[in-house]
């Protein structure tokens, strides 16, 4: 009994920080969303839908497209790392894919902003290779730029998880299928991916939540309308000091994420209990 008390005492300060600086403000934002003047109501929400319903759809579409692309790419890279038969290519790929993993989002924003612009390095290279003429170039600094930034930055993280799970699979079923003449693509889709789907799901959900709360990428790459809800929240605060609508938009993005986070919690609880 005494050690239990001591253990709680040791954990308590860290827990208090989480409660005080995350959970309390989280509830404040939910309460604030319903505050209209001195009373409570749905005014902030109707205003949010009037002004920003396009941006809500835009946000969901961008984050969903990015999540799907990240999933496909991480399966492809992880699959080649596990099933690839050319040791040199596997080694090169293993060295290559991780680079963007720890690069901060704000740096990703700056890097891709100069690379993907209408007169950025990418178009300059295509023009000097003769693939495009200067008049044909288009900038990618719209929804495509945001998707590229998210996929560029998040794929290595999900791949790391997926490749780790694939590496610890039992090789014997894979070898057996191989001996029976199954192609590597078929082995990947029918044997490997079903066994690592839990890990893949966790990685994708964490990425989804991260992308829903990144402010720097939409600010750096595409701050004009339509943009992501995070940029709208920042605009509401900085330009209007309008905490009501900002909080309502926050609650809407929470709800959009909540469904996804629930799947995640169920997954981790299942693993843990």
């Amino acid at each position: 009994m005494q050690t239990r008390f001591l253990a709680l005492l040791l954990v308590l300060p860290a827990l208090i920080v989480i409660v005080l600086f995350f959970i309390v403000p989280l509830f404040a934002s939910i309460l604030g969303a319903f505050e209209v003047g001195d009373s409570f109501g749905l005014g902030n929400f109707s205003k949010s839908f009037d002004l920003y319903s396009r941006d809500m759809i835009f946000t969901v579409v961008i984050v969903s497209i990015s999540t799907v692309l990240i999933g496909l790419l991480s399966i492809a890279i992880g699959g080649y790392l596990t099933l690839g038969e050319n040791p040199r290519s596997v080694a090169i790929l293993r060295w290559l894919y991780r680079w963007p993993m720890f690069i901060p989002f704000i740096v990703v924003g700056q890097v891709l902003r100069t690379f993907l612009a209408k007169n950025g390095l990418m178009n300059n290279i295509l023009v000097s290779l003769g693939i495009l003429t200067p008049l044909q170039t288009t900038g990618f600094l719209d929804w495509r730029g945001i998707v590229i930034a998210f996929v560029w930055k998040q794929t290595p993280f999900v791949t790391l998880l997926v490749a780790g799970a694939m590496a610890s699979l039992d090789r014997s079923t894979i070898e057996a299928a191989r001996n029976l003449g199954a192609s590597r693509l078929r082995i990947l889709i029918e044997i490997v991916v079903p066994q690592i789907s839990g890990t893949l799901l966790v990685g994708l959900i964490l990425s989804f939540v991260t992308m829903m709360s990144v402010l720097s990428v939409p600010l750096m790459i595409n701050a004009q309308s339509p943009t992501m809800l995070t940029a709208d929240i920042a605009f509401r605060i900085n330009a209007h000091g309008d905490y009501g609508v900002a909080n309502a938009l926050g609650v809407i993005s929470l709800l959009l994420t909540a469904g996804v986070a629930l799947i995640y919690l169920r997954q981790t609880m299942k693993d843990r209990l």
């Binding site: 050690t3 239990r4 253990a7 709680l8 040791l10 954990v11 300060p13 860290a14 827990l15 920080v17 989480i18 600086f21 995350f22 403000p25 989280l26 404040a28 050319n86 290519s89 290559l96 894919y97 991780r98 680079w99 993993m101 720890f102 690069i103 901060p104 989002f105 704000i106 740096v107 700056q110 890097v111 902003r113 100069t114 690379f115 007169n119 950025g120 390095l121 300059n124 023009v127 000097s128 200067p134 560029w152 939540v209 829903m212 709360s213 990144v214 402010l215 720097s216 750096m220 605060i237 905490y243 900002a246 909080n247 938009l249 926050g250 993005s253 994420t257 995640y264 919690l265 843990r272």
Partner: protein, 270 residues
């Protein structure tokens, strides 16, 4: 004997080359911007190279040096505060009997599992009322909350990886619990704790959203400077700042496996 020529190297080389271009193209672009004196469309490469912008960034009166110092001070304080909270918590979570252990571990994940922008907005409002907005302490508190999951989870894993017999041996020859912890457990867990310290340091160094609401414009960290320079169209200053943030991140990526040994890594989150 038939000569078998493997033509598969062609698509393999093409895809790997494409991937290398996708990853290193933008990074090369950043490097070029840091030394470009003159660069405009439709020239593929800068017209003049030089280090004038570096001189401007690193001049004693330039605000980049001040931002770098602010960022390092904030990140160092964040590490100290996080470890002070995470070492006791990690020890309790790995060694002692704790009710609802799984739930407590999950609680530290909450700041990563919800979109944190609405939270930062309301923290900023709250900090403004109690005078913490625009202070180093306020920014540090926000960074600690966000980084605590790494600190606690890795510290827990690091303590779990230390053989409990060694601690008990120290106790049996007369060391008190604190002494056994200080002289046996803590030094053995040190590499894992160092890894968690580096994680927290990098998280704090790179953090933008919280600093943007709680710190700006008084506490001007490097990411905030990068943002202001870039929105002002000053791509050279922005790129040099980005490079300063990039070097520790990539350096850590290259050495992470040396700090986080497999026996610690396999216990993270358990």
């Amino acid at each position: 004997m038939t000569a078998h020529i493997d033509l598969w190297w062609l698509p393999r080389a093409f895809i790997l080359g494409l991937l290398a271009f996708i990853i290193f193209g933008p990074l090369t672009n950043l490097l070029l911007w840091t030394v470009a004196e003159k660069w405009y469309f439709p020239h593929m490469l800068p017209l003049e190279y030089g280090f004038t912008f570096w001189q401007r960034v690193f001049s004693p009166r330039g605000n980049a040096m001040a931002s770098l110092m602010t960022s390092i001070v904030v990140a160092t304080l964040t590490v100290i505060a996080s470890l002070a909270l995470a070492i006791p918590a990690g020890y309790a979570l790995s060694r002692l009997k704790l009710p609802f252990r799984g739930l407590i571990l999950l609680a530290f994940l909450i700041p990563q599992a919800f979109p944190n922008l609405p939270v930062y907005v309301n923290i900023a409002r709250f900090f403004y009322e109690i005078g913490l907005n625009g202070t180093i302490a306020g920014v540090v508190m926000v960074h600690v909350t966000h980084g605590l999951v790494y600190a606690v989870w890795i510290a827990t894993a690091a303590f779990s990886a230390v053989d409990i017999d060694l601690e008990e041996a120290a106790r049996s020859i007369g060391a008190g619990p604190l002494r056994a912890f200080r002289d046996v457990t803590l030094p053995l867990a040190a590499p894992g704790l160092l890894a968690s310290a580096i994680f927290v340091f990098l998280e704090s160094l790179d953090e933008f959203t919280g600093s943007y609401f709680v710190g700006a414009p008084v506490v001007n960290t490097l990411p905030l400077l990068l943002y202001t320079a870039s929105s002002g169209g000053n791509y050279q200053i922005a790129s040099i700042t980005a490079l300063l943030l990039l070097v520790p991140s990539i350096g850590f990526m290259l050495v992470v496996e040396r700090f986080l040994r497999a026996d610690v890594l396999s216990k993270v989150g358990h």
